[in-house]
Symmetry: C2
Subunit: 223 residues, 2 copies
DNA sequence: GTCTATAACCCGATAGAC
DNA sequence: GTCTATCGGGTTATAGAC
């Protein structure tokens, strides 16, 4: 089975090149040159360029999702079958943020690949992300157990906003650093996780009360 | 100046095709066929495919940024030189959300183009987005006037999270609809704006107090 | 100045020999 | 399984007609 070597070499070279230079700038010819294999081997082992990218992304996604579920399970067992809402949200955003942020020098190829995937969002990756819904439902279910009084709509919005803050922080960490002139420390991952979790929890516990009634034709605000 | 017609036809055709089918699936040949002009006209009028995309995006971005600043100015004048924090954040996220969400049938070509740009994030568009920092600084300055007691870091994070929630809602509206089985109404733009603003305000007014101290090696949570 | 026509090159995918 | 050779198509760039 010399093929396993070829296959693995392609995967490793592709992940590194995509992480370093992005999906748009890396051709299959670049990849096979770096892996020192033949051009046709890519099509033989993966079927197409898109399926190669999909396999790279699926592998890393499965790892992240397993981490999330492990943390969720640990939080629920620690709480006697019902995890606290902050622990649930921490299990949701923690693995992604820990995996993608942190000091530059410590970022693995896998981490840089996932950051790139988050920024460029090429078609095969989008297709896989759209199949994540069943995975997210497990977190909605846990949130429902933690906050049985909240309406489901509020739970969905809170989960959506938590993921939004986490992903955008991964995507735009450079812009936030520039905007804040370094005052926002993107290397302090634990602090960022707690920020995202705290805001998401407030969206669930502090909201609903002070939100304005839906004013359909509001153009400006008038105090 | 028959060229103005050619130029405009290319811009209109390109925006429509990109909005409908995405940047990856539309070739220059598709565009010139739809605009009924010659292939080389694109290179003559815009220099390259990337510059054509950049011009489309810059035009729409300028319009959005002007709306934002108009709303900010109106809010500050209405408040005697100092706008309330919610009015500032509403001016920041309102134009984008109003422009990109709402009933499908009402979405203009320009709106669908901006949604596409938000999802696919192709290199020329990323370059332009990175130059938005000076624009955002005006909102940071307004926030500082509204909440002079808050530390600057908190203002940056709140602005970042507000934009994160707004952009991710535009980007992933379909996933949220599926996840919530239609229970989250993505057509009720006014409600979405108020949700984003409310959560962002809470990030500024409710935070700082109950956030945990930075626990560098926290793996799980232990109550 | 404006546009047409075409050249020269690179991409991903694949048929078929080995 | 691996490799050569090649196809169809997209992109830039440009010579030269209008």
């Amino acid at each position: 089975m010399a093929s396993d070597h070829t296959r693995g070499a392609i995967l490793a070279a592709a992940e590194r090149l995509y992480a370093d230079r992005g999906f748009g700038d890396v051709t299959l010819r670049d990849i096979v040159a770096a892996a020192d294999v033949n051009l046709a081997a890519v099509n033989y082992h993966f079927g197409s360029k898109d399926e190669l990218i999909a396999e790279l992304f699926v592998t890393r996604s499965i790892a992240t999702n397993r981490e999330r579920l492990n943390e969720l399970k640990a939080a629920e067992e620690g709480g006697g079958g019902r995890a606290s809402i902050d622990a649930i949200l921490r299990a949701l955003v923690g693995p992604t943020l820990r995996g993608c942020l942190g000091p530059e020098r410590e970022r693995s190829t896998a981490a840089r690949f996932m950051i790139r995937a988050s920024i460029e969002s090429v078609p095969p990756i989008r297709r896989i992300r759209n199949r994540e819904i069943d995975h997210l439902r497990k977190f909605v279910a846990a949130m429902r157990r933690a906050l049985p009084d909240r309406s489901e709509v509020e739970l969905y919005w809170a989960l959506h906003f938590a993921l939004a803050m986490a992903h955008q922080t991964v995507r735009d960490s450079e812009r936030l650093t520039k905007l804040s002139e370094g005052k926002c420390d993107l290397d302090d991952v634990a602090d960022i996780i707690e920020r995202v979790v705290a805001v998401s929890v407030m969206a669930l516990t502090g909201g609903e009360v002070e939100r304005k009634p839906p004013a359909k034709l509001m153009a400006r605000d008038a105090p």
